[in-house]
């Protein structure tokens, strides 16, 4: 239940029994062949797995260094990797006899995928979302409502992802008897970080098989963005034991790591406890959690999954930062040269990959987890770029 010293279950007493119930159900179903089959069925026929591993030829040639491959999670239903986890947990909740789903969302991608899962499995769904995020992700708010979900505006604290989590937890404390809290990242109390990782690790399993088929060898480097860290863990997990594969997690450096306006938890945070877990957090000298900033709502979170904290400590994954501006440039570059609009979150990973590809040999291989598509971000990007 811990990753090194990190993780745990720091929750109010009321939540201990429902977490135990969830842990028990997850243990029971995770290896159940029938459950696996059902999950695979929906991932394939509903969500659209497997996703391609695409060689970004134009981008590679333009940069003139390592080969850049994109793991196309952006092609999934809803436009992001979040659906892998939402379908998994919703299916589990159904087996547990729950009739209602709640979720938090930042960029709206997890809220959207949970709203879809709610529609698919006929469950009542409520999504908690900060009012700041509702404003910058209007399209996703509308989509969630189309699927019949209720979007509950959260106006407390920084009015972003962390406050949406607080509010979802408050709901769950009241409604756990019939409600499943569908956490969208590898954060929260045990068993969430493990469970979400397991549902997302399909990304890495596919990527490994695909790169072996195409190139006949493992990649030299894998790059993924890290907010809570689910898409990163999802693609890293399968490669952890292959020490020769360099794993890089990219945090949101916002307006710069030396300013107060970023969301780079592992680079600038300290150990602490929030949202049921012991991990790294951006906090002031009193242990009050800080307000973060990133151009991408999905990375705008002052914490990070406990497994990332562990992977940082043991040095298996390198964590770096990419600024709003660099991410925006990568967003524009991929749109132009490949005809693919990446999510602003994924653009952080892409920006770093482009930076290091230059210094690598042409035979070397980088995989970027293109965790989502950028349609949802056009509203934001239009403020910066005019045609």
């Amino acid at each position: 239940m811990r990753f090194g010293e990190y993780g745990g279950q720091y929750v109010p007493e009321v939540l201990k029994p429902p977490l135990k119930e969830l842990e028990k159900a997850y243990k029971e179903y995770r290896d159940d062949p029938e459950f696996r089959e059902e999950l695979d069925y929906y991932l394939k026929n509903y969500a659209g797995r497997e996703t391609p591993l695409y060689f970004a030829k134009n981008l590679t040639e333009k940069i003139g260094g390592a080969k850049i491959y994109l793991k196309r999670e952006d092609l999934l239903l809803g436009g992001a990797h979040k659906i892998n986890n939402s379908i998994g947990q919703a299916l589990l909740a159904k087996k547990m006899g729950k009739t209602r789903l709640i979720a938090e969302t930042g960029a709206g991608e997890h809220g959207l995928s949970t709203a879809m899962a709610g529609a698919l499995f006929k469950m009542k769904t409520r999504i908690y979302m900060g009012t700041v995020d509702m404003e910058r992700q209007k399209l996703n708010v509308y989509k969630m409502k189309l699927h019949g979900a209720e979007v509950y505006p959260v106006d407390s604290g920084s009015k972003t992802l962390k406050d949406a989590i607080n509010e979802a937890l408050r709901d769950w404390v009241e409604t756990f008897e019939y409600t499943h809290y569908l956490i969208g990242s590898v954060v929260g109390p045990h068993p969430y970080p493990t469970m979400v990782r397991d549902f997302q690790s399909v990304i890495g399993r596919e990527a490994k098989r695909q790169i072996l088929e195409i190139e006949g060898r493992l990649p030299d480097c894998i790059v993924a963005c890290v907010g809570g860290g689910s898409n990163a863990i999802g693609i890293f997990h399968e490669f952890i034991d292959y020490r020769e594969v360099r794993l890089i997690g990219v945090e949101a450096a916002g307006e710069g790591l030396d300013t107060d306006r970023h969301a780079a938890t592992l680079l600038r945070g300290r150990k602490g406890i929030l949202h049921g877990m012991y991990s790294y957090f951006l906090q002031d000298e009193d242990g009050q959690i800080k307000t973060t900033h990133s151009i991408s709502a999905g990375l705008d979170y002052p914490g990070v999954g406990p497994e990332h904290a562990y992977l940082k400590d043991i040095g298996r994954v390198e964590y770096v930062g990419v600024t709003d501006k660099e991410a925006l440039n990568a967003f524009l570059e991929l749109s132009r040269v490949e005809g693919i609009i990446p999510a602003l979150e994924s653009s952080h990973a892409l920006a770093y990959a482009m930076k290091i590809a230059k210094e690598m040999d042409r035979e070397e291989i980088i995989i970027v987890n293109l965790s989502g598509r950028g349609d949802k971000d056009l509203h934001t990007v239009m403020k910066y770029v005019e045609f």
Binding site: P12, E13, R170, F176, Q288, I289
Partner: protein, 260 residues
């Protein structure tokens, strides 16, 4: 044993001087003052106390000032003070450092809402070493075996959460709460204080009648502070509310006594 009234407010809501005046008013009828440390992310609290946290932090409240408040309060009152907090501020200061400073300031006990007994090993031994009383919460869905474990970790009292939800004023008290209280009374060795949702004399009386050793009231006071701010009106209304609740506690204990 005499039945107790525990009165909760948030430290620094809306400022330190006001908090001291409020504590003084409440201590006239309260047996214990519970002082909340404001936190940026109070996930176990309902809207009323969340807002109080925001007011306190906006007013410049710092953790070290909580100790100053207790130290100042000790100059004129012996009413025990129990601090209620989320774990991060304690962890951030270092558990031992925090507990030592609480003791030095004249604090009597500590409640950490998001620190379940499993994670509390070091914390317990430090509190024991500094003679700071421990309080853990139990909820209506806490299984019997776990309730025993929680009971063993408490040294001051066991805080029984009366409902599934966050803190906040509720219209009525539920059978769920009464049944849970009866179950807990059979099992636990510590005094049992019931909290969450208690705001009226009637609530206090009924919980005491059902066997509670005390009741904890928070949001009912915080609502007064929210409405009347830093004023004499607030002090007067807090005292009135506190008196009303204490009467409930006393009536309840008289009735239990008569029934025996």
């Amino acid at each position: 044993m005499e039945k107790k009234l525990v009165s909760f407010i948030v430290a620094g809501d809306p400022n330190i001087e006001a908090t001291l005046r409020f504590m003084r008013a409440l201590s006239r009828y309260s047996d214990i003052i519970e002082l909340g440390i404001p936190f940026s992310d109070p996930m176990a609290d309902g809207e009323t106390i969340q807002k109080a946290n925001v007011r306190a932090l906006k007013g410049g409240m710092r953790i070290s000032k909580v100790f100053d408040i207790i130290r100042e309060f000790r100059r004129y009152s012996n009413t025990p003070v129990v601090v209620m907090t989320y774990y991060n501020p304690v962890f951030n200061m270092g558990v031992e450092n925090f507990v030592r400073r609480l003791k030095e300031a004249g604090g009597n006990g500590l409640i950490v809402v998001d620190l379940p007994v499993e994670e509390a090993g070091d914390y317990l031994s430090i509190c024991r070493r500094y003679n700071i009383g421990t309080v853990f919460l139990a909820a209506p869905n806490t299984p019997e075996e776990r309730l025993r474990k929680i009971d063993r970790a408490c040294s001051l009292f066991l805080y029984l959460v009366s409902l599934y939800g966050t803190t906040g004023v509720r219209e009525d008290i539920s059978n769920l709460a009464i049944n849970f209280l009866k179950r807990a009374k059979r099992i636990c060795k510590n005094p049992i204080y019931v909290g969450f949702g208690i705001s009226r004399k009637e609530h206090a009386r009924r919980f005491i009648e059902a066997g509670a050793d005390g009741v904890v009231v928070g949001s009912a006071y915080v609502k007064i502070i929210e409405r009347y701010g830093d004023s004499e009106e607030t002090v007067r209304k807090l005292e009135e509310k506190c008196k009303e609740l204490k009467e409930g506690v006393l009536e309840g204990s008289k009735n239990t006594f008569l029934r025996r």
